[in-house]
């Protein structure tokens, strides 16, 4: 396989196998896992064949029974989401959200690079179950290898009769269209993704309507599903919902992919059992991350992508179970764990994340457009040693305009700080604005002394001094 310009593409790195059941990463060990030949040789397209022998309603209820939670961030059950399509309205579309860009997250990229046919089969099953006439596969602009492999897989699948007219000689026909993003984080938000797909600026749509399932792409009912969510479907159809729910817990069945980055011995993407695996299992077990690098102490970790409030070692024994993480003040989000050890400069780490979200604001809502860059400027001042004690409160005050009321955070038992449960309130349309505040809020709440150290010795500005500064 060669890439653009003939340069050889190395086997996409990042996946680390372990001994948990493998649903979506089953083929990752093969050198040629992304080819149609390998896919067919390892049971590929069997789920689709099974689905086509049932009625769409039966397929839909199978998925509903599996309680397949969305893997994109919100964790909404896919089977329930499908049911939001208003009956009798056609055409309706499937949009695959492959615009994975949450800091720390790189699991969907591996799924698209290493097993594109599994995703395609999942799309076909979803289209069959919900009666979707067309599927749009939106792949993030920067993911060149994923784009090439998905494109190749689509062509092969078309030639083999898996996509197109009368799939596998049935009455079922569907087209899958590949679309490349243009590089905007906010397009991971489903309505912004739809806008981008329509050729408009990638800006979130206003709610209501709350779900694109009612009014989505081109004003039609649209299901937007994440890559990993859809990649689960072939397995569920082949093995049944019962086999799926036998893994994990009742409310979070199956496995899920997590991407670990930062100060662990072995960062990478892991497929773990949903609901039961704890953060300690993931970060410290020998078969997974193998502990913190250099035998350092863990300082903090982000449990669900860059926009999630942070956890400390006190939360290590929590399992990957949304209903337990929320009350503890964070979210599982996109399954990205960013690990910070004792050497981490916490204010600087927060600045890295805030800078990203401030930069990625689409510019639509004032709180995000103006508040994000302002927060970044204040934090940069503090990191550079130019902040004042007053600036620490200012960060909270500015954040308050983006997220009014109590912002969720983890408990700090040593200091008697209790957890504030998820979610937050916001004055913006989407969560990009709050995401710029989330790292600052966590860092400042959990590690205030590190900020105080940075501003120690600096005097507060008075109003007169401010005037002179300007």
């Amino acid at each position: 396989m060669t890439g653009i310009g003939g340069t050889p593409i190395p086997h996409a790195p990042g996946f680390v196998a372990n001994d948990t059941p493998r649903i979506v990463t089953a083929r990752f060990d093969y050198e040629d896992s992304y080819t149609l030949e390998r896919y067919e040789a390892t049971g590929g397209y069997q789920g689709l064949r099974k689905a086509l022998q049932q009625t769409p309603e039966e397929v839909h209820s199978e998925v509903r029974d599996a309680t397949l939670l969305g893997r994109g961030g919100a964790g909404f059950p896919a089977g329930v989401k499908w049911g939001f399509c208003p009956p009798g309205v056609w055409p309706r579309y499937l949009v695959v959200n492959g615009d994975e860009s949450e800091p720390g997250t790189y699991k969907d990229r591996l799924l698209m690079e290493l097993d594109p046919h599994q995703l395609i089969e999942g799309c076909l099953i979803a289209c069959y179950a919900v009666g979707l006439s067309q599927c749009f596969l939106y792949v993030r602009g920067e993911m060149a290898v994923a784009q090439e492999r998905v494109a190749k897989a689509l062509n092969d699948a078309y030639s083999a009769g898996y996509i197109g007219k009368n799939i596998l000689d049935t009455e079922f026909s569907v087209d899958i269209i590949l679309h490349w993003g243009a590089g905007a984080y906010v397009v991971g938000e489903e309505t912004a993704l739809i806008e981008s797909l329509e050729g408009n600026r990638g800006m979130p749509r206003l709610k209501p309507p709350y779900f694109p399932a009612a009014v989505g792409l081109y004003g039609q009912p649209t299901i937007v599903n994440n890559v990993e969510t859809l990649s689960n479907l072939p397995w569920i159809l082949e093995h049944g919902a019962e086999a799926f729910t036998a893994i994990g817990t009742e409310s979070s069945p199956g496995t899920r992919m997590v991407a670990v980055s930062g100060h662990v011995q072995r960062p990478g993407v892991y497929e773990i059992v949903n609901g039961t695996t704890t953060f300690r299992d993931l970060l410290y077990s020998e078969e997974m991350c193998g502990g913190i690098r250099n035998e350092n102490q863990l300082k903090a970790f982000v449990p669900g992508g860059g926009s999630a409030p942070w956890f400390t070692p006190a939360q290590l024994d929590l399992p990957f179970e949304g209903s337990q993480i929320g009350p503890e003040g964070s979210m599982l989000g996109s399954g990205a764990i960013i690990v910070m050890d004792e050497t981490t400069d916490i204010p600087a780490a927060a600045l890295t994340l805030t800078k990203f979200y401030a930069h990625e604001s689409c510019g639509k809502c004032v709180p995000c457009r103006e508040g994000g860059p302002w927060l970044e400027q204040i934090l940069r001042r503090i990191v550079d040693g130019l902040g004042t004690p007053r600036d620490l409160d200012l960060l909270f005050e500015v954040g308050e305009t983006i997220c009014p009321g109590d912002f969720p955070h983890a408990a700090v038992p040593s200091r008697g700080i209790e957890a504030v449960p998820f979610p937050y309130r916001m004055t913006t349309i989407c969560f990009v604005g709050p995401s710029a505040f989330a790292p600052i809020h966590s860092a400042l709440t959990l590690f205030r002394e590190e900020f105080e150290e940075k501003v120690a010795g600096n005097k507060n500005r008075t109003m007169i001094e401010v005037a002179v500064d300007v």
């Binding site: 206003l206 809502c365 305009t401």
Partner: protein
């Protein structure tokens, strides 16, 4: 409108229950309930975008109060709203602080300062001080985005109002957001200015000083402005407008939102042509032809000018006087002149139109639709001029209605018009063949035929080309009356108060109140005493009579036949032959320069009165500034002349004139001066009903274009050589020199490359013009704008011909 009242939704706003309309946004309901919710991006005439977040209020729909944008949340039964809660206040303070983070505090030199929503709402809802100490965003300022609009990106708060207006309302999406996040900017596309006929509206709706109008920039401060509400008379749509002055100079017009007419929008010509009123070129003193040097007009006093005019009228005798023009006048002025002509001079040779409209009996006699009815009709059939060029706000209303799906527009005509972008179907036909085309459509099995027969239809009817006579339009009216009897009409006449002038009797055979000379009202006979026996001549007939020596005195009432009459040669012949030309005008136009007596009249903004728009809606004109020099109102000139001719108009003020109109004009009975000055004046008073019968003509076969000829089509452009544009320094350069546009195939056939000068030959003249290839032009057709600087199309036109053909030769 359905008879059943719409059901209501009860919402509680700040403790008070309010019956809201189902489906309306909370912010609109709150407005009607008298509760102001601050906002920047929300605009009641455009879709909501929820960008600024300024209208966040506490909304409780049963799940506890939550901050939600009131421009995005439709009212719901039982909704409880608190616009003054602590949370709301904190959000408002926060949003304003954010908006000011990058907004330059250059209010003292900003045009908007003093009337700025950002300034005002910061005072009312803001935090009082900012905690922002960093460097603000910087851009080059200002940058021109069109000839009339400057953009200061530092001041912009990205509310999406201007960009939404350009896209949703004007249909000229030439300004867009570029970049992202805090670097987002409004910009034009490279090398494509925001050259929209409606660009000035973006300045008016800009909630900060980011968009400023070049003609107004740095001219005044808002607190120095005085304002009156009036009606625009630039064209005959009759947009309501706020006229503003400073130091007795008109400095700005703003659109006033009235439901029936303009929804708050104005075209750029109507918005900026106040510069002409302020112009130093204005006529401010009477002039008379120098006895010693026939090429000179000398300043004189009113007494001498009036005496000379009266003498010329008297010497000619009633049958040899003609009065041309009057569409510029107010209703009261037009009435005074109609009365002067008939009861004092004794002539019926009066015509407010310049051979460029439709016969008065047709205008007054066809059943009229309102603009609102037009925008709600199942189908609008446009057979007439390019509305975008001639009646821009009617075009805008139709465009919005059609794009929202409220109506469907079908147009039949010889050129691509502004309606093409929103029309359900644009049917091309050769000039003069619209009636034939409509018949063919109705007789075909095209589904449009059934659509026209089965649904409500409003025909927007007018002259598609000045190079064809009124007959083709009358043929279309005849076909519609015949085959679509349920259709009503909105007549696309352009001149400011043409409808009012006809209503007041400034047309041969027509008397005030939409009656004819054969059937005058009792009260009119009592008041006027004398009436001519039979109908007089229209403008074409008057000019013909003058050219053959049958008229001695021509009176031009704000008329410039040399530029505006379709047949320049005929007008020129008439001027050469006639003994005396008396002109009453604001400027020395080309025709006025041929006059023997010139009397300066007051202009727009300098006179009170009423005007009537194309629907027949009477609305008030307000005086804002003192007229310059010794200019006089047109009715006063009529009264003075009457007195010098031994008569008496019997009126001493505009109020008295309106009182008489109300008594003698049957259609205007009951429209008292109290009503005109009352609250109804805001929307205007629609006057319906007429006792005039339209005389239509049955379609005839137009002459075939010979193999060497091209059928000439000539329409007006918004930016033309008219006085309003040519005396406004900001607008003058927008009027393009005329070029002859021909289909590239026709040019190729003649062996002429595009952009070369060619000899253009018509029955009237042979002249040199630039020929330009344009593939939107029908084959066999040549398009030449009617009145552009550098020469009008009327040089080539024979007004007596049904259609005009030209030939092109290489030089």
């Amino acid at each position: 409108m359905s008879d059943t009242p719409p059901s209501e939704v009860t919402v509680t706003i700040n403790g008070d229950e309010f019956e809201a309309r189902p489906g309306e946004m909370l912010i609109a309901a709150a407005d009607r309930a008298g509760v102001h919710i601050p906002r920047f991006c929300y605009h009641e005439r455009m879709s909501s975008v929820g960008m600024c977040r300024m209208c966040l209020v506490d909304i409780d729909t049963g799940r506890g109060p939550m901050l939600q944008p009131s421009c995005m949340v439709p009212v719901a039964e039982g909704m409880v709203v608190d616009t003054q809660s602590e949370e709301t206040k904190r959000a408002q303070e926060g949003i304003l602080e954010f908006l000011l983070v990058n907004h330059p505090l250059d209010c003292p030199v900003c045009d908007k300062g003093g009337e700025c929503p950002l300034q005002d709402q910061t005072m009312a809802y803001g935090p009082g001080e900012s905690r922002f100490v960093e460097e603000k965003r910087h851009y080059e300022k200002p940058i021109p985005i069109s000839d009339l609009v400057d953009l200061d990106r530092e001041r912009c708060i990205l509310c999406d109002r201007c960009t939404r207006f350009a896209d949703e309302i004007a249909g000229d999406p030439l300004i867009q957001f570029t970049e992202r996040g805090s670097s987002t900017q409004v910009l034009t596309f490279p090398d494509e200015p925001f050259s929209s006929y409606f660009s000035g509206n973006t300045v008016q709706i800009c909630p900060v000083g980011a968009l400023t109008a070049a003609p107004y920039r740095f001219k005044a401060r808002p607190w120095d402005l005085e304002q009156v509400e009036s009606t625009c008379t630039t064209c005959s749509v009759g947009c309501r407008v706020a006229v503003e002055s400073s130091r007795n100079q008109l400095v700005r017009y703003l659109g006033v939102d009235v439901e029936s007419v303009n929804h708050g929008w104005l075209c750029d010509k109507g918005r900026f042509d106040y510069e002409a009123v302020n112009s130093g070129d204005r006529l401010v003193t009477p002039l008379v032809r120098d006895d010693h040097d026939q090429h000179q007009l000398l300043g004189t006093d009113w007494g001498s000018a009036l005496a000379r005019a009266a003498e010329a009228i008297e010497q000619a005798g009633p049958q040899r006087v003609g009065i041309i023009g009057g569409s510029r006048l107010t209703n009261e002025d037009a009435y005074a002149w109609a009365k002067l002509a008939r009861s004092v001079i004794g002539t019926d040779n009066v015509d407010a139109q310049l051979g460029d409209g439709l016969p008065a009996d047709v205008v007054l006699g066809l059943p009229t639709a309102t603009i609102a009815e037009t925008c709600e009709a199942d189908t609008v059939l446009i057979v007439g001029p390019d509305l975008k060029e001639e009646l821009p706000i009617l075009h805008l209303r139709l465009r919005v209605a059609a794009t929202k799906g409220q109506t469907k527009v079908i147009e039949i005509g010889p050129i691509v018009t502004g309606a093409e972008t929103y029309a359900q179907r644009s049917i091309s036909c050769r000039s003069g063949e619209a009636a034939k085309t409509l018949v063919a459509l109705l007789e075909s099995d095209d589904p449009l035929g059934d659509q026209l027969r089965d649904g409500s239809v409003v025909a927007v009817l007018g002259r598609a080309s000045m190079a064809e006579s009124a007959t083709p339009a009358l043929e279309v009216a005849s076909v519609i009356r015949d085959r679509l009897p349920h259709a009503t009409f909105l007549l696309a006449l352009r001149r400011g108060n043409v409808r009012g002038a006809l209503d007041m009797g400034l047309a041969p055979g027509i008397l005030p109140g939409r009656t004819t000379i054969d059937d005058p009202s009792e009260s009119l006979i009592n008041r006027w005493q004398n009436l001519p026996e039979k109908a007089g001549l229209d403008t074409t007939a008057m000019l013909q009579a003058a050219a053959t020596g049958e008229l001695d005195t021509l009176i031009l009432l704000g008329a410039d036949p040399l530029r505006d009459f379709p047949d320049r040669n005929l007008a020129m012949d008439a001027f050469r032959q006639v003994k005396t030309v008396i002109a009453i005008d604001n400027f020395v136009t080309e025709s006025v320069s041929h006059a023997d007596v010139v009397m300066p009249s007051t202009a727009y903004g300098e006179q009170e009165g009423t005007t009537t728009n194309i629907e027949g809606r009477v609305s008030r004109l307000a005086q804002k500034i003192t007229p310059p020099g010794s200019t006089r109102d047109d009715w006063m000139i009529a009264a003075e002349l009457a007195w010098r001719l031994g008569g008496d108009l019997g009126v001493g003020s505009r109020e008295e004139i309106w009182g008489e109109i109300e008594q003698v004009a049957p259609s205007h009975a009951g429209v008292t001066i109290e009503r005109i000055c009352g609250p109804e004046a805001h929307e205007g008073i629609l006057i319906q009903g007429s006792s005039v019968n339209p005389k239509l003509v049955t379609p005839q076969e137009p002459p075939v274009v010979d193999g060497y000829g091209l059928r000439l089509v000539s329409g007006r452009k918004l930016w033309d050589a008219g006085t309003g544009v040519s005396h406004s320094p900001s607008l003058r350069h927008l009027a393009e020199e005329p070029t002859l546009k021909v289909h590239p195939g026709d040019l190729q056939r003649l062996g002429v490359p595009s952009g070369t000068a060619v000899r253009v030959i018509s029955t009237r003249t042979t002249e040199t013009l630039l020929a330009v290839a344009d593939d939107t032009i029908l084959r066999g057709t040549a398009v030449l704008p009617f009145n552009q600087p550098g020469g009008g199309a009327n040089r080539f036109i024979d007004a007596t011909a049904l259609v005009n053909d030209i030939r092109i030769e290489t030089l």
